[in-house]
């Protein structure tokens, strides 16, 4: 959908605002450009609708080189929302919303109908149509600002810190509202912000820039889990990293890597000795390659003591194990739902690599509550 190919921007006087940027995004993605001021995020965004022209490289929208298109035509196909809202004070809400349609020479009747339809998307009544921007609150004004960018059903929308000037409560509700709207309409959004919370909340993909260079590009989970370098870590903030831990840690990071195991060829006596030794009530059964075969517990041993002799005779085939790369978040849910006491962890070849018990979960909860202090000690 949107592709940056070796894009650079050098301003007069040799200041390099954006340096050799290579990015590619899919349709329907919510892309957030983030970085400290002067990192080139706004410049990068404005190059998409040619408010700023790239010095080098090519930007493609649906495989079309934007430099080969008429800039006015290009901009009418891309929605644009700015921080200062930029509603025209001399036009009614209806005129503001449908301005692009007027430029596109839609007939008056259709424009009006469209404005009404859009207004209902943000739960505003049609009587707002004839009001003027100064009669609306800041939050309502920016809602209209967003609607204006949706008027011609543009598939791509650029937003330059659109919620930056709003108070925190309004901002929060507008973010929620807008994220829902974006999902519903399937728009591709390029969103510029310097607020990490906003980025984590809204983005499908976060692009972190610094000094015109790409630092990291990934989903919020990826960035929280593996910040590319110290700059990113600092930018995200320690607090958020700790808070986000249960959401992004993998099972491998919290599992006990030395589960008590036994092989199916061993005797039940050995099994019971092992249990006593380690004070556990069940054992995981593996083969010589450490591939998980199942488990035995103390009750089955007790019931079958007379009849069977080997572990393999009474083994209960294990039905549930998690992959080591699975997220803890999902694992917790499964453990709780299934009422399991533990979950074996396997690698991609179904070899046993560890175990997650309820006790491991206690560690995570402890960390997310006391993590900061524990780290400080």
């Amino acid at each position: 959908m949107l592709k940056f190919d070796h894009v650079s921007k050098v301003y007069k006087g040799g200041k390099k605002a954006v340096n050799d940027l290579n990015l590619e995004f899919n349709k329907g993605e919510f892309i957030v450009f983030i970085g400290p001021s002067g990192c080139g995020k706004t410049t990068t965004m404005k190059m998409i609708n040619r408010l700023i022209e790239p010095s080098e490289g090519t930007i493609y929208i649906n495989n079309e080189d934007i430099m080969k298109k008429d800039p006015v035509k290009l901009r009418r196909e891309i929605g644009y929302v700015i921080q200062q809202i930029g509603l025209f004070p001399h036009m009614t809400i209806q005129e503001n919303i449908s301005l692009v349609l007027k430029l596109l020479k839609w007939p008056e009747e259709k424009r009006k109908a469209r404005a009404k339809e859009l207004l209902s998307l943000v739960d505003m009544t049609p009587d707002y149509l004839d009001r003027y921007p100064h009669e609306l609150s800041g939050g309502q004004q920016q809602r209209i600002g967003v609607l204006r960018a949706l008027a011609a059903d543009q598939p791509l929308i650029l937003m330059d810190e659109p919620f930056g000037a709003l108070d925190p409560i309004t901002r929060d509700s507008l973010q929620d509202e807008f994220k829902k709207l974006q999902k519903k309409l399937g728009k591709t959004i390029v969103f510029v912000t310097h607020d990490m919370d906003e980025a984590l909340k809204l983005a499908d993909k976060i692009v972190i820039l610094r000094g015109g260079q790409l630092v990291q590009c990934g989903t919020p989970d990826e960035i929280l889990r593996e910040p590319a370098n110290e700059f990113v870590e600092e930018f995200i903030g320690k607090e958020r990293l700790v808070q986000a831990k249960p959401n992004i840690t993998t099972v491998e990071q919290i599992m006990n890597p030395r589960p008590i195991t036994i092989m199916s060829g061993q005797s039940l006596t050995e099994a019971i000795t092992l249990m006593k030794q380690h004070r556990v009530d069940s054992l995981l059964v593996v083969d010589e390659n450490h591939v998980l075969e199942g488990y035995i517990d103390v009750e089955t041993i007790d019931q079958n003591r007379k009849k069977a002799r080997l572990v393999g005779d009474v083994i209960l085939p294990d039905t549930f194990a998690v992959e080591k790369n699975a997220l803890v978040r999902d694992t917790i849910r499964q453990i709780l739902k299934k009422g399991m006491k533990y979950v074996p962890v396997t690698d991609e070849n179904n070899r046993l690599v560890g175990i997650v018990t309820r006790t491991s979960l206690v560690d995570i909860v402890y960390d997310s509550i006391w993590g900061d202090e524990a780290a400080a000690e």
């Binding site: 901009r75 891309i78 929605g79 930029g86 509603l87 025209f88 004070p89 001399h90 301005l99």
Partner: protein, 217 residues
């Protein structure tokens, strides 16, 4: 009082004719001024570098005494209405131009960015954003220059353009104060009425929301 009635009964029709003459000289010059100065003002906002020199050049022309200009135009355009209108036109340009320039420069840049970003052409930005928003300032310039022009148009009779100046000059030459008054009072009334009408026009062409906002501000 009877003197006034006497004067009017003798010169009434002529006075009306002169007033009309006066009005159309001034309004024509002001109209030409608007036609030239508003587009020029808009163009100057697009060429910032030229704006300074053009403004100071016009400022200089403005400082030349009006009598001198009228005299200066005699060899170029002869005498009569046309040179008078041209000379007055020169005076009307600067206030309108300056107000147009300032008005358009004063339009919030974020609105212009929004307009550009949503795909307005340069002309559409002027037509839908810059002009409507700077109308009050431009109209103020038009009012000021038109009222001035009505005053200055009295001098135009000196080069044979006619108008109410004829009375004032004859009054001065013949030492007849009633002629001076007969010229001066209608000029004043004319200026007031035109100012009033232009005020109404200004109100009419200013977008409703801007009008309301200015009222509350």
């Amino acid at each position: 009082m009877s003197a006034v009635i006497d004067f009017l009964s003798q010169n009434g029709m002529e006075l009306l004719g002169k007033t009309w003459e006066h009005l159309y000289i001034s309004l024509l010059a002001a109209g030409l001024g608007v036609i030239v100065a508003v587009p020029l003002g808009v163009i100057l906002t697009r060429f910032e570098k030229a704006a300074g020199p053009v403004m100071s050049l016009l400022g200089m022309i403005q400082t030349i005494p009006s009598f001198a200009i009228l005299a200066f135009f005699i060899p170029l355009f002869g005498i009569g209405k046309i040179p008078a209108i041209i000379a007055l036109f020169f005076y009307s340009v600067l206030p309108i131009l300056r107000n147009t320039y300032t008005g358009i420069k004063g339009v919030n840049t974020s609105l212009l960015e929004a307009g550009r970003g949503m795909g307005m052409t340069g002309w559409e930005r002027i037509r839908y954003v810059e002009l409507p928003l700077s109308i009050p300032v431009i109209m103020a310039g038009v009012r000021v220059s038109t009222v001035y022009l009505i005053g200055w148009a009295t001098l135009a009779s000196y080069i044979g353009a006619g108008g109410l100046g004829d009375y004032i000059f004859s009054g001065l030459n013949l030492y007849q104060p009633e002629y001076i008054i007969a010229g001066a009072i209608p000029v004043t009334i004319l200026a007031l009425i035109v100012d009033l009408i232009l005020g109404k026009v200004e109100n009419k062409v200013t977008p409703k929301a801007i009008r309301e906002k200015n009222k509350t501000a």
